[in-house]
Subunit: 364 residues, 2 copies
């Protein structure tokens, strides 16, 4: 059981729940520093399973399989925040799970997450709990239109969200989330979204990478660019907010913190947190000595955190669906690092890979 | 079958002969660009097998296993130059093998290699063929002492070599190489050793990374440093020699070319070539967008070669034997990229990992 005094030695095994591209890049990063990965996923032919010799193919609800898995690994982590709480509980009986159940609980539920931020004094969009159509009417009256109805749980890439532009859409919106426990959030007139990839080690050390400026297309991240172009003061405030969040949670691992820049660049609001490595941090693979993936593995293994300094400027572009068919011309582009995830069919909206373009860092 | 017109598409499989750290880093690099690796090695618990889900554990002499392996992969490459010629021949019946049998033949035999260089007009240490004790006496009389008796085949890291300081040691030296077919090389009074990692694509494109300056300890590479500290003219000449060699061979893949800098920095001699990725190119993992490992996989898959530009200065230090026990303090060193190979016991002389220290590139 790794801790800061007794880190997991090389040759140890980290269990990873989830077999997608984030699990794949975590496993690749673990291999670099001599740690083994054991992938646990319901799909045996998943991107992560291709890059390790140890895989358990089982459902997240299969307690017996989870216990067998736990017995073969030294620590467990995950690549997605919708890990069933029951699975985390079963695993935590016998092996450390990082980030822990508390972090999962906060990040899995938009209401808990927003309340947690408010309790820390961190600005967010205005929000209200919605458990019924009556609640929704009241929330809209209070917050005003436009606003967004979001299910409390299991949302990502714009899924489980309905925009409400006028009160007349209330009932339709409530049907649109299938009457699931939800929140209403006010629409924030933000200038841009930035994100901070922050890591907290088992010894409490916190290090944050440079904030990236993100652009979305159809609710899916399209590009992340560093430097963000914002002044140092704003970037430092963003890093400080991320530090405050992981410290308050007693978090272990890498977290993605999405922030809105509002008011002409003068104010930051936290949009959401992801208790895992994050798509907007993929640029760290090329532009930093320690990537977010290695950083996460270092943290959960009780290792010292690595350097977050950025030696180059970078722009990461996701390859969504048919974008991946451009792999050959991307591979021929000078200075472009192409990453492909080993997925089969390029369905619309599916993240197939990404490409990071480096440029020399201009000192200011 | 990949070629420059029809490169191996993402999802294709590259077979790798050999399961050591070079195979491991090749497989990790292939995964990054969406290519699968199938490791073929006699040891099932080898570093490379840990990072892929497909492995054949069989002897290099097992023709049936080789044929089964060849049927499951799109192209074959290797991580070590002592691949038995018979194995390469069996494989080449059904699948492309890069680098090809000719490159292997030249690199496997010191006499063939030196003769190849001489025929190209490339300077090497003086050498003579030795097939008997009489030959050895004659060679020593001609080349003079000190000189080095080296077996023609299967030498690496100083193995299969005996230094001869006086003619009185002749018989002892001949016994020292077990009367194997050998060559004698004159000892070159070189200032330093540099190496060029060069790649040639299936379309004939040649790209060479910046030369590294190498230091050895007990015949094993200790450090590789870029920049080399030599003037551009000398570095360009080194690159040109590497280009000349891979072009003359019609080579496909990455090659390591070791050169002696002699005469106060005025002259280059080729020491030896390795038809594979090379220990002195590990710094490319952090200091370049495309590492030597990805470059090799790109080349054998018929992809365009990647950028060889170096964005940072770098110094790679091998972790030999018990050096690896310093992993924790190395992991805590700012700017140090630690690579560990997943090997078990740190025996003396065993390459357990390496660490690359980056520094900002100072423009001159």
């Amino acid at each position: 059981m790794p801790n800061a005094e007794q880190p997991l030695a090389p040759g140890g095994t980290i269990g990873i729940l989830g077999g997608g591209q984030l699990g794949r890049m975590l496993a690749l990063a673990a291999a670099r520093i001599g740690l083994k990965s054991h992938i646990y996923a319901p799909d045996g032919d998943c991107p992560a399973a291709q890059v390790t010799d140890t895989m358990t193919c089982a459902a997240y609800e299969d307690a017996a399989a989870l216990r067998r898995f736990a017995a073969t690994v030294d620590v467990v982590t995950y690549e997605f925040e919708n890990v069933p709480t029951a699975a985390a509980t079963v695993l935590a009986d016998t092996v450390p799970v990082y980030p822990d159940a508390h972090a999962l609980a906060v990040a899995q539920d938009r209401l808990t997450e927003k309340t947690f931020m408010r309790d820390l004094g961190i600005a967010t969009a205005p929000f209200a709990e919605v458990g019924s159509l009556d609640d929704l009417h009241r929330a809209i009256a209070s917050i005003g239109c436009p606003c967004i109805l979001k299910t409390r749980r299991f949302g990502y890439d714009g899924k489980g969200q309905v925009r409400i532009d006028t009160p007349a859409q209330t009932a339709e919106a409530w049907a649109g989330v299938a009457s699931a426990p939800s929140i209403v959030e006010g629409v924030v007139a933000f200038d841009s979204e930035i994100s901070v990839i922050v890591a907290r080690g088992l010894d409490g050390t916190v290090l944050a990478y440079d904030p990236a400026r993100n652009a979305h297309d159809n609710h899916i991240l399209s590009t992340s660019t560093v430097p963000s172009g914002y002044p140092d003061a704003l970037e430092n405030e963003a890093r400080a907010l991320a530090d405050q969040i992981v410290t308050a949670l007693g978090y272990v691992g890498v977290m993605g913190v999405e922030l809105f820049v509002c008011g002409g660049g003068g104010q930051l609001m936290v949009n959401e947190i992801a208790p895992r490595v994050h798509n907007s941090g993929h640029w760290t693979l090329e532009a930093c000595v320690t990537s977010q993936f290695e950083q996460h593995m270092r943290a959960v293994a009780g290792w010292p955190l690595g350097t977050v300094a950025r030696h180059s400027n970078a722009r990461m572009t996701n390859l969504i669906g048919a974008d991946v068919n451009r792999w050959h011309s991307l591979a021929a582009t000078p200075g472009a690092a192409v990453h492909l995830y080993g997925k089969g069919t390029p369905r619309p909206g599916r993240k197939m890979g990404h490409v990071t373009q480096l440029a020399p860092r201009k000192e200011t």
